[in-house]
């Protein structure tokens, strides 16, 4: 009854709402009082002053069982927190077991009469009255109480600690089996209530133990905790369960009195039996369970030893997978990502070395290069394996390649003994794109088991995802960096263009330059020379981006420094070609038109170096293109350039207009993909040739915008108009004053 109540309370929340701590100490106090009363009874019974009879017996035994039930609850409270590891579950029972044997042996040795000749000659010798078990000397009373207390504590701690082991990965059924075992143990114990200490168990009492032992067997097979142990933990567990088995054996001998020779206690005179028969049965059953559980644990530990490494590998794979999954989110450092990817298969034991090849984005053919290796030198990889060949095959089939005998394959140049016995190549695929290949080797041939290849495939899938993420991230960073760079380049370009236009007698000038989104290399500028002459330039650096803006800045420097020194356009261009040629990349060139207006002589001399030909129109003449010969700057550094160059000298008549532009104007396209072209440019010039420079400029840009409409053609567009009005005799300044130069910028 009491045990039934006890088992239902085990592990439950605090009863009656009393605080946990208070409850624990109340239990301790109750147990203490009950034990003291029980001891008092023994003292009285020793002195012969105890009341005798059935009622007294019942009250005494009930009190003892109550006291020990409370002790169990107390211990259950104290040991409520589960042992942090399976190993620690063994420690406390071992310590208490050693204490029990020490106390038992010590007490019985001290209280034993020195002249004991042989065993079991006289009951008096052992301090008990034969038959009734009444203690005869104070030492017996003490021994009986002390040993019972320690023995019961040991049994309870053993059960409570083993409960933690049995209930690892608990289910409803396993929890039920555990409490049924405790229940049947309590039941079998209670059947011995009031049985005399020297009587042996009758058939019913023995039969009642059968179900308890049955459930012990069932619970002894609950050994899940063993699987999680590492090799060293398993070895330690084996030692501890062996030690505990020995201790349990000792305790068992003690409790049953079987090894009387060892403890000098004859069979009928087991202290705890005299104290309380049910308690002694419960302790014995606990010891039986302890022995059973330790035995099965020991065997299971031994059998699990060989599979430990497999299990550890599985655990390692899971851990590596977990860290790779986490890494998918950490894409800031691709080098770390790569080394993590190659480390995973090696660290989990799926391979002995690994490396990662990804296509080199800086090479136009996207040749694979090795970015990370683990347990292998990146440099030596190329010597050992023909990576491009394998990569090409992977790129075609998109399937893993498994070479069981790698050295026999013609693509593996490693000799036997160089660490490449078998080779597995797994493609890293993401969104149908091959991002790279993971190479994993084993030192032996036929080294890859099915689970290895599967694990590596899963790694590869995770790795591909991580690389893909990282790449997207890098691309985004790159885009942002480029757009920042372009913003700077645009700003530089804007500042390189003239901020105001020169005012020259007899001329009106209008100019505009619309930079492209991607920044081109358009440039125009003016320079006032001596004798009222004006030099003008328009240039276009090939290509786009920051390098184009940089070369444009070079061009500006050359213009500003050379224009005052060069006597003629061809002299300027020849010197400019020699200056800029060595600076330019091979693939870059600059097209230029350079001219000098001489108001005094009423001439303009003009030369073209590969640039779109300037358009010109007189008041009544047809517009035409000034297409003299001339190579772009940077295309040739010597004779060919000079020979090709041709300079036109044109006599100016009032109303003559010159239109300079870059290819962005001619190549502007409308929504149908049609180019603006030279013809339309000349038509607009013809129709508006009478306008002043800035009105003509506006007419031309309006026509261009009308043509382009909303289409997204993107190049620099530069348009410069220079108009000669002539100089009235005697009023040198009138012409230019009435027609101030205008700059327009979009």
């Amino acid at each position: 009854m009491i045990y039934g109540f006890l088992s239902s309370a085990v592990g439950g929340p605090s009863m009656f709402g009393i605080g946990q701590r208070l409850r624990t100490w109340l239990l301790a106090l109750t147990a203490f009082v009950a034990c003291v009363i029980a001891a008092g009874y023994h003292v009285m019974s020793m002195a012969g002053s105890a009341p005798e009879g059935m009622v007294t017996e019942v009250v005494y035994h009930a009190l003892v069982l109550f006291a020990y039930s409370v002790i169990y609850l107390f211990l259950s409270d104290r040991l409520r927190r589960r042992a942090s590891t399976s190993l620690r579950a063994f420690w406390l029972p071992i310590l208490v077991g050693i204490a029990l044997i020490t106390v038992h042996y010590g007490l019985t040795s001290i209280s034993r009469p020195p002249d004991l000749p042989t065993i079991a000659s006289s009951s008096v010798t052992f301090g008990f009255e034969y038959g009734t078990g009444r203690p005869l000397v104070p030492a017996t009373v003490f021994n009986m109480n002390a040993i019972s207390l320690v023995a019961a504590t040991f049994a309870f701690i053993l059960l409570l600690r083993f409960r933690d082991l049995v209930l690892v990965k608990r289910t409803r059924a396993s929890q039920r089996n555990w409490y049924l075992m405790l229940g049947f143990m309590a039941f079998a114990s209670m059947l011995t209530f009031l049985t005399p200490a020297d009587a042996s168990l009758n058939i019913w009492q023995r039969l009642a133990m059968v179900p308890a032992i049955g459930f012990m067997v069932v619970n002894s097979l609950r050994l899940s905790w063993i699987v999680f142990l590492s090799m060293s933990e398993k070895l330690l567990s084996i030692c501890m369960s062996l030690l505990l088995l020995v201790i349990l054996g000792g305790v068992g001998i003690m409790e049953t009195g079987g090894g009387s020779a060892a403890f000098d206690v004859p069979l009928p005179y087991v202290f705890i039996k005299h104290y309380s028969y049910p308690l002694s049965v419960f302790v014995s059953l606990s010891v039986v369970f302890g022995i059973l559980y330790c035995t099965t644990a020991l065997l299971s530990l031994i059998f699990h030893l060989p599979t430990t490494s497999d299990y550890q590998q599985r655990v390692g794979e899971l851990a590596a997978m977990h860290s790779l999954t986490n890494l998918v989110g950490q894409v800031f450092d691709s080098d770390r990502l790569f080394s993590m990817i190659v480390a995973s298969p090696v660290e989990t034991g799926a391979g002995s070395a690994a490396w990662l090849s990804i296509p080199d984005r800086s090479s136009p053919t996207l040749a694979p290069h090795v970015v990370a290796g683990h347990s292998i030198d990146i440099e030596s990889v190329h010597r050992l394996v023909d990576i491009p060949a394998l990569y090409e095959e992977i790129a075609e089939t998109r399937e893993p390649i498994l070479m069981e005998q790698a050295v026999a394959d013609h693509r593996v140049t490693a000799r036997p003994g160089e660490g490449i016995g078998s080779l597995l190549v797994v493609p890293l695929l993401s969104r149908d794109e091959l991002l790279g290949a993971l190479f994993v080797t084993k030192e032996v041939s036929h080294g890859f088991e099915r689970d290895d290849t599967e694990a590596i495939s899963v790694f590869a899938a995770q790795a591909a995802l991580a690389i893909d993420n990282s790449r997207l991230f890098e691309e985004r960073i790159e885009r942002e960096r480029l757009s920042r760079e372009l913003a700077i380049a645009r700003e530089v370009q804007r500042k390189l263009l003239p901020q105001s236009l020169p005012v020259v007698h007899g001329l009106s000038i209008a100019a505009s330059s619309v930079p492209a989104l991607e920044v081109g290399g358009d440039y125009f500028d003016f320079s006032e020379l001596d004798d009222g002459r004006l030099a003008f330039i328009i240039a276009d650096v090939s290509g786009k981006g920051t390098s184009a803006a940089f070369y444009m800045a070079e061009m500006q420097g050359i213009f500003r420094s050379l224009s005052r020194l060069a006597s003629s356009p061809s002299a300027f261009l020849t010197t400019a070609n020699a200056a800029v040629g060595p600076i330019l990349e091979r693939s870059v060139f600059i097209s230029v038109i350079y001219g000098i207006v001489d108001p005094a002589r009423e001439t303009v001399s003009i030369a073209r170096a590969g640039h779109c030909p300037a358009a010109t129109a007189g008041v009544d003449g047809h517009p035409r293109l000034l297409r003299s010969g001339g190579l772009g700057l940077g295309l040739d550094r010597g004779e060919v350039f000079r020979e090709s160059l041709h300079e036109d000298v044109i006599n100016l008549k009032p109303g003559d207009v010159f239109v300079l532009y870059t290819d962005g104007v001619i190549e502007s396209r409308n929504a149908d993909g049609k180019e603006y072209g030279y013809d339309r440019l000349l038509d607009v010039l013809r129709d508006n040739r009478h306008e002043e420079a800035h009105d003509l400029h506006r007419a031309m840009t309006d026509d261009l915008n009308a043509f382009v409409g909303g289409s997204e053609y993107d190049d620099d567009m530069t348009l410069v108009i220079i108009k000669w009005h002539g100089i009235e005799v005697g009023n040198f300044s009138a012409a230019s004053k009435s027609d101030p130069a205008r700059i327009q910028e979009a």
Binding site: P364, G543, S587, S591, H611, L635, D663
Partner: protein, 118 residues
């Protein structure tokens, strides 16, 4: 989307690259890769521009980038069958002075043959 592509052919010992579409700053790298692929096997390269609709200055730059290497190795890049509008771009910059630009591919190939037979 790139609207430029390069087709490979060989005519005798000459590699013929057929350019299709528009060659500008964005597609120039494709022509670059194509020429790089050719160079190890043959430095006799003919560019067929029959289907080249447009070329920008960056596109022209690709020819400039490789011509020196190719000529140093005893080869050449010859350009054939350009459409008039595209030829105009070559011509404005003076490319005909630097490159063999001929009307037909057969002519370009033949010039290689005669050069080697001499």
């Amino acid at each position: 989307m790139s609207n430029f592509s390069v087709g490979f052919r060989t005519s005798g010992s000459v590699q013929v690259l057929e350019l299709n579409g528009e060659l500008d700053a964005h597609t120039a790298s494709e022509l670059e890769a194509a020429i790089q692929k050719c160079i190890p096997s043959s430095v006799r390269i003919v560019i067929n521009g029959q289907n080249l609709q447009y070329i920008s200055s960056a596109g022209l730059g690709v020819f400039m980038a490789y011509i020196e290497d190719v000529r140093e190795q005893g080869g050449d890049i010859k350009i054939a069958e350009l459409q008039p509008r595209v030829f105009n771009v070559f011509d404005l910059l003076g490319f005909p002075m630097l490159f063999d630009i001929v009307d037909s591919e057969a002519d370009a190939v033949a010039r290689f043959e005669t050069a080697s037979s001499q």
